[in-house]
């Protein structure tokens, strides 16, 4: 039932683990699926240039949830916060060929990215669009 890409991410998950929440530049997103009791943590590490230089995740859930969050950590790396924020669950679902019943796993991953970015902004005191990079300033 799982696609090759899901199996690949499930068996060789990328960026498993975590950063210390309190550390500077870290944003933590913690989300959960009400239907199945899955829980997903996604963390980003934002560099001085405002780009996400690293990411980690820890997910307790089905193969699709693990693959979605593993893929999300790969995709956010090297992106600005605005770019990472624009990642859509449909792109994750499409890339992993998730069946309709597993779409909510990709929704969870998208929400986790957004929650991590929100947490980073709240901690660093910079509202959306003022992340100190050119793209952010232009968007404002």
């Amino acid at each position: 039932m799982y696609s090759e890409k899901v199996v690949d991410h499930y068996e060789n998950p990328r960026n498993v683990g975590g950063f210390k929440k309190e550390e500077a530049g870290i944003g933590t997103g913690l989300v959960g699926a009400p239907a199945c009791g899955d829980v997903m943590k996604l963390q980003i590490k934002v560099g001085a240039d405002g780009r996400i230089e690293d990411a980690r995740f820890k997910t307790f859930g089905c193969g699709s949830a693990i693959a979605s969050s593993s893929l999300a950590t790969e995709w956010v790396k090297g992106k600005t916060l605005e770019e990472a924020e624009s990642i859509k669950n449909t792109e994750i679902a499409q890339y992993l060929s998730l069946p309709p019943v597993k779409i909510h796993c990709s929704v969870l991953a998208e929400d986790a990215i957004k929650a991590a970015i929100k947490d980073y902004r709240e901690k660093s005191g910079s509202p959306a669009g003022t992340d100190g990079n050119a793209a952010g300033k232009a968007a404002e």
């Binding site: 959960g32 009400p34 009791g37 899955d38 307790f60």
Partner: protein
């Protein structure tokens, strides 16, 4: 006779529809046409009404069982052995609907979720939304980590005992919340119970793997 089938007094469809066999009037919730006796299709009544129960979280389990077995006997395939294929098929769809109603109401978590669905608190639109309760998520993450780090059957069973106690307490919280018509509180406790059940399920799987 049709009136007898209308026990419960809740749910929709109190009006009359046409019997598919004789076209005579038949109560929306009746199992059989009171004119020709033909079994009627399941129709759109809620699970409580289908089993002739009041819509409530607190249900008497023995009563639920009795209602279920009673309806099941009436709809048993043996009773329709000599009937035309269409009647047999309708009786079967009634039995399927009856089983679904029983399975939903028999489990307190499913029953609570079903009540929240009927009240519009849970819907297709909300089920995909992430859990807003950060304290619950943090707790769930910690417990799942503790379970994944637990070595040996004893450590796993310790976690199961604690979580099992929590699950029982949550049932009483849910019951009180529904009794007070506090659906938001019921929803929060239902979500906690969903996570508690998940942890217990994962713990059972891990224990089974260790015992192999």
């Amino acid at each position: 006779m049709a009136v007898v089938q209308q026990i419960g007094g809740n749910g929709a469809n109190a009006g009359f529809v046409s019997c598919w066999a004789c076209k005579g009037p038949v109560a929306g919730r009746a199992l059989f046409c009171h004119t020709c006796g033909a079994v009627q299709p399941p129709g759109s009544v809620d699970h409580f009404a289908r089993l002739g129960l009041e819509r409530s979280f607190d249900i008497d389990h023995d009563h639920l069982e009795k209602q279920y077995l009673g309806f099941q006997r009436v709809l048993h395939p043996d009773r329709f052995a000599g009937k035309p294929a269409k009647e047999r098929a309708i009786a079967e769809s009634q039995a399927v609907a009856l089983n679904e109603a029983y399975e939903t109401l028999d489990d307190p978590l499913k029953r609570a979720q079903y009540l929240l669905r009927l009240a519009g608190i849970i819907s297709e639109g909300t089920i995909d939304k992430t859990v807003a309760d950060q304290a619950l998520l943090m707790e769930a993450m910690e417990k799942r980590e503790a379970l994944s780090e637990a070595e040996g059957v004893d450590a796993i069973e310790q976690l199961m005992v604690e979580e099992g106690k929590g699950a029982i307490e949550l049932l009483s919280v849910i019951s009180k919340a529904f009794a007070a018509d506090d659906l938001a509180a019921a929803n929060r406790a239902v979500l906690r119970l969903t996570y508690a059940r998940k942890l217990l399920e994962e713990a059972r799987l891990k224990r089974a793997a260790l015992e192999e």
